[in-house]
């Protein structure tokens, strides 16, 4: 690593000074204590000098007690501002100065009267006592202030955790706060691989790459601060922080550790939730896989059973069959073979779609032509239901694969016709409308309709198995439609038909009518795989 990785990446937001103000930094709290102490010493020294200069001209006119009280003021001030040490210093200096300049004989340390000795030591004692009392009061105030600052910081750090759901965004915001409050440059939250899986990337703020958990001393810059996240003795991960600042002092460490405990609890929550979700997802997938398998085997075996029964019936010498019966049996075999073939083709298509191997040959397609051709085809197969087509202005040209599109439309139409056989309004409408950059094709029937809660599910393979009648197809039709539509960059969904019934809607990208490309005629050539399989429901 050639440059320290915590260098702020280009364009990363620069910390706002005003943001910093919001938190009473624990570091500044310490600095303030230091500067007050210095002020205390200054008062002790310069206060004494000043008082001495003021009192010297009058030293003969004042009784020693008054002079002593004057110095006591200096001691009190020094102690009040700077605490015990400046107070004691002031006491000692003033004791000496008082003795030297103001107790006769002047300018010597000898004391004329025994009484003065008592005065001197009473002065010293009182000075030190006052200093001690003042210092203790001040320390208490400072401790209270510090605790308040700690709590306020903790509260601020935790605000996101308490108000947001667990998740990477929340963790990023939390790291942002840590970085801001403690004046780091960058921080990373690492997750324990054994608990969260290797795929769980660290969350990092203020740097392009995560700050490594292990520090290699050969790298430039300071080692990152690391704080473990543990719950009940189990490690969930750690926070690594770097920045151009002194190492964390004990007070800051204490706050951060308290905060890390909270964060660890949230991580644990998330982990448990995730495990539960995974189990649930697995269960559902498993269930779906099983029903899919059951559906496939049912759909494969039913035609096989009919074929086997018909063929073995013909082969059996024990019975005489009329020519009509033989023909019926053979027709059944033929019919069921086609059905098996269509099912296998659909299964292959489905697996191609799921493997992402199906490519759309998108071109400009005359929608009207496809809709009319599909409607004719379905109407010919299923007489008795009226199929009408209406294509709106400027809705005629779409970008689509014509083969895919026809399959989708025919499939939806067949479903609609089937749904209409028992309906009172036995008509199906096919319409296309332009809406912004899309054209929406709607297949509208007046059958039973689809309840909103199963609309999504209907597009899953074999969803309809349990509810479909014997009349219906393989249970793959809509799943394939959805796959085909999505490779054509479109969408498919279900709406209500006003007055009752289902409307299947397909959106496709519109093609510009100004384009010189002539509408593509429907390709007649049969292609392999997806392109020749018959549609189904």
């Amino acid at each position: 690593m050639s440059t320290p990785y915590w260098i702020r990446p280009e364009g990363a937001p620069v910390r706002e000074r005003s943001e910093r103000r919001s938190a009473l930094s624990l570091a500044t709290l310490g600095a303030r204590t230091r500067s007050r102490r210095i002020a205390g010493y200054a008062i002790a020294i310069f206060g004494t000098v000043a008082l001495t200069l003021i009192l010297l001209p009058f030293r003969d006119n004042l009784v020693p007690l008054s002079k002593g009280f004057g110095f006591l003021v200096v001691v009190v001030c020094a102690a009040a501002v700077g605490g015990l040490a400046p107070g004691v210093l002031a006491s000692v200096i003033d004791f000496v100065v008082f003795n030297f300049f103001f107790l006769p004989p002047y300018n010597t340390f000898t004391v004329a009267r025994a009484e003065y000795v008592a005065v001197l030591f009473v002065f010293l004692g009182i000075s030190i006592l006052i200093s001690a009392l003042l210092a203790r009061a001040q320390e208490r105030a400072e401790a209270a202030e510090a605790r308040e600052a700690e709590l306020r910081t903790l509260q601020e750090l935790s605000a996101d955790l308490v108000t947001s759901l667990p998740g990477r965004d929340t963790y990023a915001r939390v790291l942002q706060r840590i970085v801001r409050v403690f004046a780091f440059d960058a921080a990373s939250l690492h997750f324990d691989e054994r608990l969260f899986g290797e795929a769980t990337e660290p969350v990092t703020v203020g740097a392009a790459d995560p700050i490594p958990m292990q520090w290699d001393p050969s790298w430039e810059g300071r080692a990152p601060e690391r704080l473990p996240l543990t719950v009940g003795g189990r490690s969930l991960g750690l926070i690594a922080m770097v920045g151009d600042r002194p190492p964390l002092d004990p007070r800051e460490s204490r706050v951060l550790r308290a905060f890390c405990d909270q964060l660890a609890l949230i991580l644990e929550d998330e982990r448990l939730l995730r495990t539960a979700t995974q189990v649930e997802v697995y269960r559902q997938t498993e269930e779906m896989r099983r029903s899919l398998l059951a559906a496939v085997s049912h759909d494969l075996r039913s035609p096989l059973a009919a074929i086997k029964a018909s063929v073995t019936d013909l082969l059996d010498d024990g019975a005489t069959h009329s020519p009509g019966e033989v023909r019926a049996a053979l027709e059944a075999v033929d019919d069921q073979t086609d059905r098996l073939n269509a099912l296998v083709a659909n299964l292959l298509d489905m697996s191609r779609i799921e493997a992402g191997m199906l490519r759309s040959r998108a071109q400009t397609v005359d929608l009207e032509e496809i809709l009319v051709a599909s409607a004719d085809r379905v109407a010919a197969q299923r007489p008795g239901i009226d199929v009408s087509v209406s294509v709106g202005d400027s809705a005629s040209l779409v970008r689509a694969d014509p083969v895919f599109l026809e399959r989708v439309v025919v499939n939806l139409l067949e479903n609609a016709v089937t749904a209409s056989t028992k309906a009172t309004v036995r008509e199906v409408r096919l319409e296309a409308r332009r809406s912004e950059g899309e054209v929406v094709v709607r297949v509208i029937d007046h059958g039973e309709g689809v309840p909103p809660n199963i609309r999504e599910l209907l597009f899953y393979p074999f969803y309809s198995l349990e509810r479909r009648g014997a009349r219906l197809g393989t249970g793959l039709g809509l799943a394939i439609c959805k796959g085909l539509v999505s490779v054509m960059d479109g969408q498919i969904w279900i709406e209500d038909t006003p007055g009752g019934g289902a409307t299947f809607a397909v959106s496709l990208p519109a093609a510009e009518s100004s384009s010189a490309v002539p509408p593509t005629p429907l390709p007649r050539a049969q292609e392999a795989g997806a392109r020749n399989a018959g549609p189904s429901t």
Binding site: L293, A294, S297, H298, R301, S302, P303, L304, A305, A306, I307, K308, A309, S310, T312, D313, D316, G318, A319, T320, H321, E325, A328, A329, A332, D335, Q336, G469, A470
Partner: protein, 247 residues
């Protein structure tokens, strides 16, 4: 059909797959059975009332009322033999249907010969040929008299325990019928033992040692894996008609 041989029996086929229904109906009609075919349970139950079938071929996977329910409702009023059709995934349903009183099952796809053999066996049994008409079974030097509680093999007496007799009794009362583990356990050991399949297995194996010519390849008490056992001897007969039919 008029002009042909006299009818062999009246059969109701219930299957939602049209082509299977048609194929079975065609095969049965060609063999002089009288057939009605229905695609779902509701109409099948109505048909049972007026058609009075001698046998019902019942698919388990039906729209509306499913095969199990049809089985249950038929059994509530009638002892008509029921042959279950199922696919492999319906294993549990199949066993449940047998517990509900269905007589046999076939897994799709199946050949018509086997289908017809099962039907013949069920009709024969229902016709009274085998049902406890006599409690004496004879085959290849083996003689079992359930009434007299004697088993003679090669001229010598075999001694059976009380439980073995109870098991033999239960099995031999329904020749040809597939008896589920559950049914046998409840019948021989009583309610509460329905799931002790291992116990049943042990006693069946003991019983086989005493009556089967080759206990390692049983022909009298045949196993239907995972489902139950079938007694293949027919009462009062020499030879093994039923056994040949089921093999």
């Amino acid at each position: 059909m008029p002009g042909r041989q006299p009818e062999k029996g009246r059969i109701l086929v219930v299957d939602d797959e049209e082509q299977i229904r048609l194929a079975l109906a065609r095969a049965l009609t060609a063999r002089q059975y009288v057939v009605e075919a229905r695609p779902e349970g509701e109409s099948a139950l109505r048909t049972v009332d007026w058609f009075r079938p001698d046998l019902i071929v019942l698919d388990l996977n039906l729209p509306g009322i499913d095969g199990l329910e049809v089985c249950r409702r038929v059994r509530a009023t009638s002892e008509v033999p029921i042959l279950i059709l199922s696919v492999r995934e319906e294993e549990a349903d199949k066993v449940e249907a047998l517990n509900l009183g269905a007589d046999d099952y076939l897994t799709k796809p199946f050949g018509i010969e086997e289908f017809l053999a099962r039907i013949r066996a069920l009709l024969r049994r229902a016709g009274g040929a085998g049902v406890a008409a006599s409690s004496v079974f004879r085959e290849n030097g083996l003689e079992i008299d359930v009434e007299q509680r004697t088993v003679r093999r090669g001229g010598a007496d075999e001694r059976l325990t009380k439980t073995e007799w109870a098991l033999l009794d239960a099995l031999s009362q329904h020749p040809g019928k597939l008896l589920t583990h559950r049914w046998l356990l409840e019948r021989v050991w009583g309610p509460g033992y329905e799931d002790d399949v291992d116990v049943l297995r042990v006693f069946v194996s003991q019983l086989r040692k005493k009556i089967e010519p080759d206990p390692s390849r049983p022909r009298i008490i045949v196993t239907d894996p995972g489902v139950g056992y079938r007694w293949t001897l027919r009462a009062g007969e020499a030879g093994s008609g039923a056994a040949a039919e089921m093999a």
